[in-house]
């Protein structure tokens, strides 16, 4: 290395240290160039989108947070305090929104059942969970424990199901529907693929009928008509009827999703199972279903999310889910005209739970995508 005459450092060829890249090709500037301003259309889109956000976000934030009231006694006080949303209503009726009309001194039972449910869910979804085996065994008796806790009897004060309401009701309908519709859907899908014509057409008829009518009509049937089809004098619980209808409804959709998975399993797999001397059920359980279910995971989770969202429809037959509680509370003259707040609040609850389910399904899909990853 030698000093040059001009005072500039000179290098032997090939020994020059790397210069930093030009400013425009690294860091945030490069990112913005590529993602926001890469072409005239792109620039126009960016400006349009930024303008759109500018129009919406400040208004939304000031309405829902900075100008909102969180503590007040009634609507008029809300109005007097601030110009934005009136969340005080939600805050005051928090218990009602969560537990419905469940007796207040008994609400610990619901909380306990919910905590147990969370433990079971964590054990099912998280494979490194400590004590997973024990929890798995517990998962089998959980439905009975939960029913006992919620309904009472055997030493606990009995609570009638028409006291159930709020998010608790949504979760009961959602979890029961999800847990029961999967096995039923599998049976229906297998029935539809069966080569016994009577079983096949019975399944096809059931699936297509359920998929052809809206859930709301089935719920009407459950609430008004079902008693006609039962022996005189039988009268069973409305919540139970709704649970049965929701489960049947979801299982028809589930069956179609799983049928898609079954059709994607190559015939060679079944033939190989036959060649191994496996009978129908072992072949299905050990060879076909594991592959079919893996393929249909996104669809299955979509059906779960759909079922969970559909549980709000129970308000049309008078059950008090969060939406029903909200509408009933809005009739209170103290709080009239707050429908936007109530609906947004319930919407956020649904968004959080459904989005979580969708994200978990994406994770599962990636995890189970063995085989052909490059």
């Amino acid at each position: 290395m030698r000093q040059s005459n001009q005072g500039k450092q000179q290098y032997e060829p090939g020994t020059h240290p790397d210069l930093p890249p030009p400013l425009g090709t690294t860091g945030p500037i490069k990112w913005m160039r590529e993602n926001l301003f890469s072409s005239p259309t792109n620039i126009a889109l960016t400006i349009l989108a930024a303008f759109f956000l500018y129009k919406i976000i400040p208004g939304a934030v000031s309405w829902s947070i900075t100008d909102a009231t969180f503590i007040a006694e009634d609507r008029n006080e809300c109005r007097a305090l601030n110009s934005g949303a009136c969340w005080a209503f939600i805050a005051q009726r928090w218990g009602l929104f969560t537990f419905g009309f469940y007796p207040e001194d008994q609400r610990w039972r619901v909380v306990l059942a919910f905590v147990l449910l969370l433990m079971v869910i964590v054990a099912l979804l998280w494979e490194n969970c400590p004590g997973r085996k024990v929890l798995f065994k517990f998962a089998l008796i959980f439905p009975f424990v939960a029913t006992w806790l919620l309904l009472g009897g055997f030493g606990l004060e009995p609570v009638a199901t028409d006291k159930f309401g709020g998010f608790m009701l949504t979760i009961i309908i959602g979890v029961t529907g999800i847990a029961l519709s999967l096995p039923l859907g599998i049976l229906l899908a297998l029935g539809r693929q069966s080569n016994l014509p009577i079983i096949k057409y019975a399944c096809v008829g059931f699936i297509e009928f359920i998929r052809g009518v809206p859930l709301i009509t089935l719920l009407f049937v459950a609430s008004t008509m079902l008693s006609y089809f039962l022996p005189p004098g039988t009268n069973f619980n409305l919540l139970l009827r709704v649970l049965i209808m929701v489960t049947l409804f979801a299982s028809a959709y589930m069956a179609e999703v799983i049928r898609g998975g079954l059709q994607a399993v190559p015939n060679g797999q079944i033939e190989a199972a036959d060649a191994m001397g496996l009978k129908y059920w072992p072949a299905m359980r050990l060879i076909v279903l594991p592959q079919a279910l893996k393929i249909s995971i996104p669809g299955i989770v979509n059906t779960f999310v759909g079922l969970y969202k559909d549980s709000v429809l129970v308000i049309v037959i008078g059950l008090l889910d969060p939406l029903g509680i909200g509408q009933a509370s809005l009739a209170d003259t103290k709080w009239q005209g707050l429908s936007t707040e109530v609906y947004l609040f319930v919407a956020i609850f649904f968004f959080v739970s459904c989005y979580a389910m969708a994200r978990y399904s994406l994770y599962l899909e990636r995890k189970l995508h063995t085989g052909h990853s490059r």
Partner: protein, 403 residues
């Protein structure tokens, strides 16, 4: 259907078993036995239900008949496409309901498809900001029940829009109030039929011209600007004729009288809320379908088309879209079915569709739950059937023709 797991191995054991176990272990006979059992069980189930229904209905002296359909309905329906008043029959109320369901379903399908395609393309856009806006929109809307969307839009319309006295004037063409959108009502003059005839003729011409141009292109390679000529024949020509004939339509403008508008045409907030909410909701699902469809066309297809020198617009039209449509159409048709079925949620905000007329007020007034629910379900099944038939036909048309 399995019969324990032990035997199978040696024939000597099997032959010693009794006749039943031999029948059961034979695949053919077993399938017959299983099916007979299933059939008997199904019959027993339905017979049991029908017997109970007959007995129960008799016990309360109701009977089973559709005669009530011809009795006066005694209730009003404010949004209707055909004439109806409270003295009309339940049958007529049902027809109003059917048309209302079809109206909102059709309008919803159109808007949801347009919005869904736009959102799906935005979701694929390289622009980070639009991409994320579309993502947030889709994820929010998809993960919230549609009933909530309907109630929210309806609530906003009823509570936030002004009263008729201080209506929002939409370019003098309409007045937006919390009682709906009031618009001038067109009253046709005889000359309008000439314009309509021209419009129909334009459509027929466009269809014929299109097939002729295709033939010419196949034979000689000459390409006509089919799209622009069709636009001219279908849209520009009738519009020109309309103005040349001196606008042969009288508009009856709505006028503010007292507390409400009189005259003109009104679109109720219930319809607008249901229509917008159903469309926004379904558009989010359609957007995901469109995105998946476009991503399913491999990039090599576009590159190959570019290498052949086909311009960008034609690449999109002739190479990418036809292949994407094959992936898009089947799930799209189930979204259309969903819109139709979800329109039954109209009952929550009082839009008078099938569920709210025959399955709602008529049911409550006559007490004929069984008959009304049978009608409602049969109608929805019929709509589902018609839509899936149409979409199957369309799907077959665009399917890859394999040799």
């Amino acid at each position: 259907m399995s019969s324990g797991t032990s035997v199978e191995g040696s024939t000597s054991i099997t032959s010693q078993r009794n006749i039943f176990s031999r029948l059961w272990n034979d695949k053919e006979t077993r399938s017959v036995i299983v099916q007979i059992i299933a059939l008997v069980a199904l019959f027993a189930f339905f017979a049991f239900m029908i017997r109970n229904a007959v007995y129960n209905l008799e016990a309360i002296g109701k009977g089973f008949s559709f005669d009530f359909l011809w009795q006066p309905a005694n209730y009003d329906i404010n949004q209707r496409l055909i004439s109806y008043d409270s003295r009309s029959s339940h049958m007529r109320a049902m027809q109003v309901g059917i048309l209302n369901t079809l109206l909102v379903a059709f309008a919803g399908i159109v808007l949801a498809t347009v919005l869904g395609f736009i959102l799906g393309v935005l979701r694929l856009s390289k622009n980070w900001l639009t991409n994320k806006i579309a993502y947030v929109y889709i994820e929010y809307v998809r993960n919230v029940p549609v009933l909530l969307h309907i109630l929210l839009v309806h609530g906003i319309m009823v509570h936030s829009l002004p009263k008729p006295k201080s209506a929002i004037n939409v370019g003098d063409a309409g007045f937006l109030t919390n009682r709906g959108l009031f618009m001038p009502k067109p009253i046709p003059e005889p000359l309008l039929w000439a314009v309509i005839a021209l419009f129909v003729a334009g459509i027929i011409f466009a269809i014929i011209f299109r097939s002729w141009a295709k033939k010419v292109q196949n034979e000689t390679g000459k390409i006509y600007p089919v799209f622009w000529i069709s636009v001219f024949a279908i849209i520009i020509l009738p519009v020109l004729a309309y103005f040349l004939l001196g606008s042969p339509v009288n508009w009856e403008a709505p006028e503010l009288k007292g507390f409400n508008f009189r005259g003109g045409m009104v679109i109720r907030p219930e319809f607008i809320a249901l229509w917008l909410a159903l469309s926004f909701y379904t558009a989010a699902f359609i957007a995901e379908i469109v995105r998946a469809g476009i991503l399913a066309v491999s990039h090599g297809q576009t590159e190959a088309s570019m290498a052949l020198g086909i311009p960008r617009g034609r690449t999109l039209k002739l190479v990418v879209i036809p292949q994407a449509l094959r992936v898009i159409v089947p799930p799209l048709s189930s979204q259309y079915l969903n819109i139709t079925k979800n329109s039954s949620l109209a009952i929550a905000i009082g839009y008078m569709d099938i569920t709210a007329t025959i399955g709602g007020i008529s049911l409550n007034q006559t007490g004929r739950e069984m008959e009304c629910m049978i009608i409602v379900m049969a109608l929805y099944l019929l709509f589902s059937l018609l839509i899936s038939m149409f979409m199957n036909w369309y799907n077959k048309r665009i399917k890859l023709v394999e040799r």
